[in-house]
Symmetry: C2
Subunit: 311 residues, 2 copies
Amino acid sequence: MKKYCFGVDVGGTTVKIGLFDKEGNILDKWEIPTRTEHNGSEILPDIAKALEKKMEEKGLKKEDMVGVGIGAPGPIDKEGTVYEAVNLGWSVFSIRDTLKALCGMPVRAGNDANVAALGEMWKGGGQGYLNLVLVTLGTGVGGGIIVNGEILNGATGAGGEIGHIHIQDGEEDACGCGNHGCLEQYASATGIVRLAGRILGATDEDSVLRQGEVSAKAVFDAVKAGDAVAIRIAEAFGEYLGKGLAAIAGVVNPEAFVIGGGVSKAGNILFDFIEKNYKKYVFHGSKDAKFELATLGNDAGICGAAKLILE
Amino acid sequence: MKKYCFGVDVGGTTVKIGLFDKEGNILDKWEIPTRTEHNGSEILPDIAKALEKKMEEKGLKKEDMVGVGIGAPGPIDKEGTVYEAVNLGWSVFSIRDTLKALCGMPVRAGNDANVAALGEMWKGGGQGYLNLVLVTLGTGVGGGIIVNGEILNGATGAGGEIGHIHIQDGEEDACGCGNHGCLEQYASATGIVRLAGRILGATDEDSVLRQGEVSAKAVFDAVKAGDAVAIRIAEAFGEYLGKGLAAIAGVVNPEAFVIGGGVSKAGNILFDFIEKNYKKYVFHGSKDAKFELATLGNDAGICGAAKLILE
């Protein structure tokens, strides 16, 4: 009887792998290096070998396994075709068919941010919701959208690429994507540091942020300590992000936003800055969306990947 | 054998009804008045009577009918519950269950704009696409989103309410929804007239628009005649709408935008103003989305409603 599955989360430096039972309990998890040489051609064979080894170790047979779910960075459609994953060296090919041929088990593949959203819905901060948006505030701003319990992949796997929604006219700095004024430029960890630099530079006012290196964490620590300049930085962040999430709600009308990524470690205080701005800009039909913190951290990817294959 | 169905489109003044075969051919269509008195309690009984009468006239039995699809203005979830339809006097109730009890046939209900999007996908400008956004540029800006061939209703039926995405900071005029700077304030027929008033008021330059009443039609007629001021108005319209559609693409990554509503009668010239701005603001993963004109006009609602029940 098929009782177990693997959830795989391919990152730029390591591949995280989890062995799950069908209820979503993590029975084992480990990492292998991501070998990006030769256009990433070793990555899927390395994963297949790691799975085989783990099955031997645990005395599991293919008949025991539902299959393998896998998330990777880049646009991946619902058939499991990746269109390009620059970080991994991958161009266009079917992750699903390739990994299936290598490991002899059913495979489903998806974009890593979308898959993480599925994980948070299943076992994390999004439990109880079937329509949610995971907003990952890290180096960049990533997103994953779940509609009626399923990933919204979009036509070419670029669904939920919310970090590049245009949010500010007249921005002179370019975003990593080449555009100007993307949400990511203000609401990511990097964006918060940029906002901090601008606001600190425009005033002589005293602030703890003038001591040491400014980071997103330092900003929110200072907010918690009541630092007036840090509060203004957080207000600017909240205005941009609240406005961006309101636009997203105008499209998909989610039950909840689940906030993850490094910046979310600041905790519930984030919502003080995001929610009031969200309510200011959003269409009344979406005013009651809930705000939750992601809870799975680095396990969101493997959990979501497991859910993908169990569906 | 079940060979036919009804598609019903409830508007504020008339209810449009079509009798369809399963291939989507319109065998008959007609209208009845929308009686909004008594909180709209007569509307569904009137529809049920109209359907019964038509079936008698055509010699059709319930066994011949797949059922009834119905679209109405207001947030309606995928179970067919309407949350409030101000124009009709309706508060919260199940359209599906109520109409089913009245007419004795299966019923599916949806928001009118979403249902129209389904109609354009099936028989109109969106044929061949399974992921599209219908953008209706009329008195307001409406929207309907189709993902993998199905309507995106959203958590509370407010999916696709794209007219109220915040697009301009600092706007002093209020939108009908109470917010300031909504897409609808610049890209609807009314919005275009407002933009025209601002641009005409800011210059003494000669323009055919200074003769007679300014309307969206007059603006695009003047654009076609090469009027420089009208072209600037159309550029402003295109900048707002292109930016708004780029934000939508950042969320759902559609294959195509289908442009309908009264403003779309201007034709392909609209795309000259929308597409270049869309490409300027959109994330590269959605750059290749197609732009199409809606073709069903007033029949989009009944066609989509028929498709809804045939699915």
